[in-house]
């Protein structure tokens, strides 16, 4: 109420001032002064209609230009064959979508969440190339192997070596491994670059082709490729001499690890 009265009192005096300002285009204010006043609590003093007058919006009216709407062709009349069919059909040019997805677009991973391929790979500081590891899970649980390097997916590339304990070069998860403090110096060993995740990826045995009689089908078993054998041999040829240098290391790798009575892993130094 007070605000409106105040506004009407001033508007007439301001009007003249405004016109002067409008005419004089050379004088430009550095900071546009708001004609609104704010009361405590963020409440504006002048109402919308009062502000219309105060800011002289009646002078700033732009003429409304009406856009001419082009008549959009929505239908096409097509001829249709067949008796008693009406002869023609109105075919819409813009068809309605065949499918409306329940979700708008693909859900993007929010902010910091990355796909697996972009994950940060961590390696325990106790695991360095040449470390003897004790495998804790899988077919070779309890066996001791030599760590070679960490692959792109974060898995560890290990080898028996094959001739020593029968464990081939293999991928192993860091989490299912105990790193011992026994380390072999394999700085002279060159691990071929082709030994990566793609090389070790499991191949699907069932190709999908099945004969009519399922009993005739041979059981598809995994067979070691000649390439794999050759790579194993060449890799182990580099490592085995280093193993043999260390006293009892070959025997150590041959023997599996096990816990005995009164042996507590949390109290043991590996």
């Amino acid at each position: 109420m007070c605000g409106i009265l105040f506004g009407t009192c001033l508007s007439s005096s301001l009007h003249g001032l405004l016109l002067n300002i409008m005419e004089d285009e050379t004088t430009k204010r550095k900071k546009p002064r708001s004609r609104q006043r704010w009361l405590t609590g963020g409440i504006p003093m002048f109402s919308r209609s009062v502000m219309y007058r105060r800011t002289a919006k009646y002078l700033k009216k732009k003429p409304i230009v009406k856009k001419e709407k082009k008549a959009v062709e929505r239908f096409v009349v097509k001829e249709v064959g067949g008796e008693k069919n009406g002869g023609t059909r109105k075919v819409p040019l813009q068809k309605q979508p065949r499918y409306y997805p329940t979700q708008e677009g693909r859900r993007k991973l929010k902010g910091h969440r990355k796909p697996f391929s972009e994950h940060k790979r961590r390696l325990r500081p106790s695991i360095t190339p040449g470390t003897v590891l004790i495998l804790l899970a899988g077919v070779n649980r309890g066996r001791r192997v030599i760590f070679l390097k960490q692959l792109g997916t974060g898995l560890l590339l290990v080898t028996g070596p094959m001739k020593v304990n029968g464990i081939p070069m293999r991928r192993v998860n860091q989490r299912y491994v105990i790193a011992t403090s026994t380390k072999l110096d394999i700085s002279s060993v060159k691990i071929p670059g082709k030994l990566d995740d793609a090389y070790f990826k499991r191949k699907k045995l069932r190709t999908g082709k099945r004969s009519k009689n399922i009993f005739d089908d041979k059981k598809e078993t995994y067979e070691v490729s000649d390439e794999r054998r050759a790579d194993q041999k060449s890799l182990d040829a580099q490592i085995i001499p280093l193993v043999k240098k260390e006293h009892l290391l070959a025997k150590y790798l041959q023997n599996p690890f096990s816990l005995r009575t009164r042996q507590y892993p949390h109290k043991m130094i590996f």
């Binding site: 003897v132 011992t180 403090s181 026994t182 009892l248 025997k251 023997n255 043991m268 130094i269």
Partner: protein
């Protein structure tokens, strides 16, 4: 004092007395040697270990395991005096040569063994036992023959 007590308590040889070298078994200073400098009461003693890195303070008698060694100091002797008496008595060397000390060190070494060390130990034990077995069977045979 101890001499008199020996008559009263003939089975006791190690007494809580001024100058008694003790092994600290409990607490922050466990594993270190110290000297009982004074007795506070039934449960506590004032101990000091200037050469073992134990500052003079009161300690529970239960935390102390008494050794056979006694050094000649008077009650509440200062650290300098204790140090001198300790060195003169050659306590460190005497302690190292005791079975007690050797056992403790062996235990430490065992705990510090790595997996490879444990394996090597297993092999060594196997070899030793094989030799012992061999000799034993030889002796048994000889004894059986003698009969």
């Amino acid at each position: 004092m101890p001499d008199a007590e020996v008559k009263i308590l003939p089975n006791f040889t190690r007494f809580v007395q001024v100058g008694r070298v003790a092994y600290i078994a409990v607490g922050r200073h466990r594993g270190k040697l110290c000297v009982i400098v004074d007795i506070i009461d039934q449960t506590r003693a004032l101990i000091d270990g200037p050469l073992s890195g134990v500052r003079r303070h009161a300690m529970r008698l239960k935390w102390l395991h008494l050794t056979d060694f006694v050094i000649k100091i008077s009650p509440s002797a200062r650290a300098k005096t204790v140090k001198k008496a300790w060195q003169e008595a050659n306590i460190d060397e005497k302690w190292q040569s005791t079975t007690w000390c050797k056992k403790l060190e062996a235990k430490k070494r065992k705990e510090a063994m790595t997996d490879f060390d444990r394996f090597k130990l297993m092999i060594a034990k196997k070899k030793r036992n094989a030799i012992v077995e061999k000799e034993l069977t030889k002796l048994k045979k000889a004894a059986a023959k003698a009969k």
